[in-house]
């Protein structure tokens, strides 16, 4: 395994081991995401029928809010015992450390989405089984773009006292293109007659934003982490 991949793998494995032992981030994030979906269902579902075209928006609101919670916590952990300094001091590729943190976050978000998507389908009559492959690709691409920026900002803000407030303030405006593409693409798949070409168009746009955000994050992580 190359140096970059080796470091990223070990950082991700370490994060997942810590999470398996504490289950802190997964349970908190999942509970929060499910609560968001349930609150929307209490507000919008009348006589067992949900309004048209709301499922995609609710799904992405839950994913983005839950993701923000998880991002903050993954770097918060590195503040305990100052392990972030130990990571930065290691002669490893610093972008590989970022990649490892991002991969760990993506796996956690995937677990949250595995619960969240069927729940949204159940409560809002979303047809998730018509194009499961496209829906999975759309969710993966959207989550990657959102998490790539979020992981970078969470790392930047780890030493800032008001980090919990600043993270969403910085993250949401920048990830608006990802959110729009995610919601529109998902809505195209969730409508009564799914619009496959439209979903593919939004997936293409998401892949473009993913490439932009991941490249920028890998490039800026090192200067951001050193004073």
């Amino acid at each position: 395994m190359g140096g970059f991949a080796r470091v990223a793998w070990h950082v991700m494995r370490k994060d997942l081991t810590v999470e398996v032992r504490s289950r802190e981030i997964l349970f908190t994030t999942l509970f929060f995401a499910v609560s968001v979906v349930l609150v929307f269902s209490f507000a919008l579902v009348r006589e067992g029928r949900a309004p048209d075209d709301v499922a995609a928006g609710i799904l992405w609101v839950a994913i983005s809010f839950a993701g923000t919670l998880a991002m903050g916590r993954t770097f918060e952990r590195e503040r305990y015992n100052d392990t972030l300094r130990a990571l930065i001091l290691a002669p490893a590729d610093r972008p590989a450390i970022y990649a490892g943190k991002l991969l760990g976050l993506l796996l956690l978000m995937a677990l949250v989405e595995i619960v969240l998507v069927p729940l949204v389908a159940l409560l809002f009559d979303a047809p998730i089984l018509k194009y499961p492959g496209l829906l999975a690709t759309l969710l993966a691409a959207g989550t990657l773009g959102f998490s790539a920026v979020g992981t970078l900002f969470a790392a930047m803000l780890v030493r800032v006292r008001s980090r919990d407030t600043l993270l969403p303030v910085l993250l949401y405006p920048i990830t608006i293109p990802v959110m729009i593409a995610g919601v529109r693409g998902t809505a195209a798949l969730f409508q009564a007659t799914p619009d496959e070409p439209m979903a593919r168009f939004w997936i293409g746009l998401l892949v473009f934003w993913d490439a932009v955000f991941v490249t920028l994050a890998l490039w800026t992580f090192e200067p951001v982490m050193t004073e």
Partner: protein, 232 residues
């Protein structure tokens, strides 16, 4: 990069806005030396250690590791630095074995299992390697943290208040381990308040006050008297 055998700090300053955390810091450290940074709280000891560890960039001045600076050394310089902070740089949710293995992988050590086994043995924790660090006493954690800092056999060892919270036997073990690294030719820089422990262990004492060097001593016996004379 060849192993560096000399650390040279020249006219280093670090400012946070208008506040001067460090000014006009110059000193050197040779192989086999244990240099103590002594001074009251806020004297700039930790800031200086962070600069030496490449974690902070000086506002002015240079730090040379042999013939290299961080600017032209980067990861190669960091590969020869081992740091033990006041916080221990360990994950409490991981076992001692997992902590050491993780950092061994980050440092690109070739035979990770053998290195970790040897490190646990040196820490006297061979039997506790699979126990979570969160269940360890302060002294045990400190021993694991020191071995974590020394895993990659660094030339320059930086320690920030390493004796805080340790009992007598843990302190003696830590001093013994540092002297062993000193005999192996490592450069060791220690920031400490524990003058009674550092007494006679240091080869040189550098006294810091308000971010400046206010004195140096090559005789480090009766450190408490010398410290009072220079600092107060």
């Amino acid at each position: 990069m060849s192993d560096f055998r000399r650390l040279l700090v020249t006219d280093v300053a670090r400012h946070y806005g208008r506040r001067k955390a460090l000014s006009q810091i110059s000193f050197s450290c040779e192989a086999g030396e244990i240099v103590g940074l002594l001074g009251p709280n806020g004297a700039g000891k930790s800031t200086l250690l962070n600069i030496l560890a490449t974690l902070l960039t000086p506002s002015r001045g240079t730090v040379q590791y042999g013939d290299r600076t961080v600017r032209d050394g980067g990861a190669e310089v960091r590969a020869q630095i081992g740091m033990l902070g006041h916080d221990l740089f360990l994950y409490p949710e991981l076992t001692a074995n997992e902590n050491l293995s993780f950092f061994a992988h980050l440092y690109g050590i070739a035979d990770v299992p053998a290195t970790v086994t040897a490190a646990l043995a040196r820490a006297g924790l061979s039997e506790r390697g699979n126990d979570l660090v969160s269940g360890f006493s302060r002294g045990m954690r400190q021993r694991v943290a020191l071995e974590r800092a020394l895993l990659h056999d660094p030339n320059l060892i930086l320690l920030d208040e390493p004796f805080t919270g340790l009992d007598q036997s843990s302190t003696a073990a830590l001093v013994g381990r540092l002297q062993e690294r000193q005999r192996a030719g490592c450069m060791i820089v220690v920031a400490t308040h524990d003058l009674d422990v550092a007494d006679g262990v240091l080869t040189r004492a550098i006294y810091l006050k308000d971010g400046r060097i206010v004195g140096t001593d090559t005789d480090t016996h009766n450190l408490i008297d010398r410290y009072r004379r220079v600092i107060q």
